[in-house]
């Protein structure tokens, strides 16, 4: 999928740049983007170390299994076909919990860990399993209890009541999650 999309993005961008006479800006932007990708990964590097380390501790302490047991019913519906005692269950639980808490970049390494476990269940195939797609979709739906970044931006923009949008965010997130799950369940056939 990304193979096709990548070609389309580059093709459309370069052709448009030529037509609009902005090819110089395009050229500058591409070169600048390499630097910004590296600095983005560098910014994430520390957070990934921290959270991978913390989560390893959680795993060794048996916390992950506790959480996974609490969320078992939901997971059985979303991710059928994962063996009961597979580490994937715990990894998914941790990742979704981090999403809920709005841990942002901290949630990414957890998501990657969960995806690696799901890939293991899938025999490390290069074709995604239904469970892997569902996990990607649930993550992309991004249910967040507290949208911290947005609240900070609103405060800076002079809002009288920055947190007033939180109920709206919950409703919109829920709509997004439900439609994503339904879409994934329909499309997987």
């Amino acid at each position: 999928m990304l193979n096709v999309i990548w070609v389309i993005m580059i093709f459309a961008g370069v052709v448009t740049g030529l037509l609009t006479g902005r090819i110089k800006e395009v050229s500058e932007a591409v070169l600048a983007s390499c630097t910004s990708s590296v600095s983005l990964v560098m910014t994430m590097l520390g957070a990934m170390c921290l959270w991978s380390g913390i989560m390893r501790v959680a795993q060794k302490a048996g916390l992950v299994n506790t959480l996974a047991r609490l969320l078992k019913g939901v997971f059985k519906f979303l991710f059928p076909g994962i063996p009961k005692d597979h580490p994937a269950n715990g990894a998914i639980a941790m990742s979704i919990s981090a999403d809920l808490l709005g841990l942002g970049n901290a949630a990414t390494p957890l998501g990657i860990m969960a995806m690696k476990e799901l890939s293991d269940v899938n025999g490390n195939s290069t074709v995604a399993s239904n469970a892997m797609v569902m996990f990607g979709v649930v993550n992309a739906a991004c249910i967040q209890l507290i949208p911290a970044t947005v609240l900070v931006v609103r405060q800076q923009a002079g809002s009288a009541d920055p947190s007033s949008i939180i109920p709206c965010v919950w409703i919109a997130s829920l709509a997004s999650a439900v439609s994503g799950v339904v879409a994934a369940k329909i499309l997987e056939k």
């Binding site: 990304l2 193979n3 993005m9 580059i10 459309a12 961008g13 370069v14 448009t16 902005r22 395009v26 591409v30 600048a32 390499c34 910004s36 590296v38 990964v41 994430m44 990934m48 170390c49 921290l50 959270w51 380390g53 913390i54 989560m55 390893r56 501790v57 959680a58 060794k60 302490a61 916390l63 998501g111 990657i112 995806m115 890939s119 490390n124 195939s125 074709v127 892997m132 797609v133 990607g136 993550n139 992309a140 739906a141 991004c142 967040q144 507290i146 949208p147 970044t149 931006v153 923009a157 809002s159 009541d161 709206c168 965010v169 409703i171 919109a172 999650a177 994503g180 879409a183 997987e188």
Partner: protein, 171 residues
């Protein structure tokens, strides 16, 4: 609210480390072991990031995003989507930093407590950079065929954004 969002990260670290210690885990050794894995993963996703961000920056700089915004303006306004939120809606699934930058600029222009400002905030708070998330997650696992992941994620994103626009009209 502030307290909850400030407290969530220290609380998670605190609870995990203290429970680990009580259960007799060699917490620091285990932490370093896990952190090493984290560093390896970060380097694994670097090439993926360079590819995605390069393509997004081409799209931005070429002016295609602006052209698309103008193209879809009329039909979208007809179904109740205000023109102010269109650029963020278009770019949100594809670039987190670009949409955040755009959001910060737009919310200042329209006012944080105006309808457009609230709708923009709700869109940003309830959606995710789908392309990035999927690229990173599937890239790290070596999956080449992501099947319906992108389609379902985009459906989910745009349903969420529409919900954001309509909910802000009511609440």
């Amino acid at each position: 609210m502030d307290f909850i969002s400030n407290f969530s990260i220290p609380a998670v670290i605190f609870v995990i480390v203290v429970i680990g210690w009580i259960k007799g885990v060699k917490v620091f050794d285990v932490f370093v072991e896990g952190a090493y894995e984290g560093a390896k993963t970060a380097f694994e996703i670097l090439p993926v990031m360079v590819g995605i961000i390069a393509a997004v920056s081409i799209l931005n700089a070429s002016g295609l995003v602006d052209i698309l915004t103008n193209l879809v303006r009329k039909p979208l306004e007809f179904i109740g989507i205000p023109a102010e939120v269109i650029p963020v809606m278009l770019i949100r699934p594809f670039s987190g930093s670009a949409s955040l930058g755009l959001f910060m600029e737009q919310i200042k222009r329209y006012g944080a407590d105006s309808y457009a400002g609230r709708a923009l905030s709700t869109i940003m708070g309830s959606s995710e950079t789908v392309m990035y998330t999927l690229a990173v997650y599937f890239g790290a696992t070596g999956v080449r065929d992501t099947r319906h992941a992108l389609a379902a994620s985009l459906i989910s994103s745009y349903v969420g954004m529409l919900a954001a626009i309509y909910v802000c009209k009511i609440l």
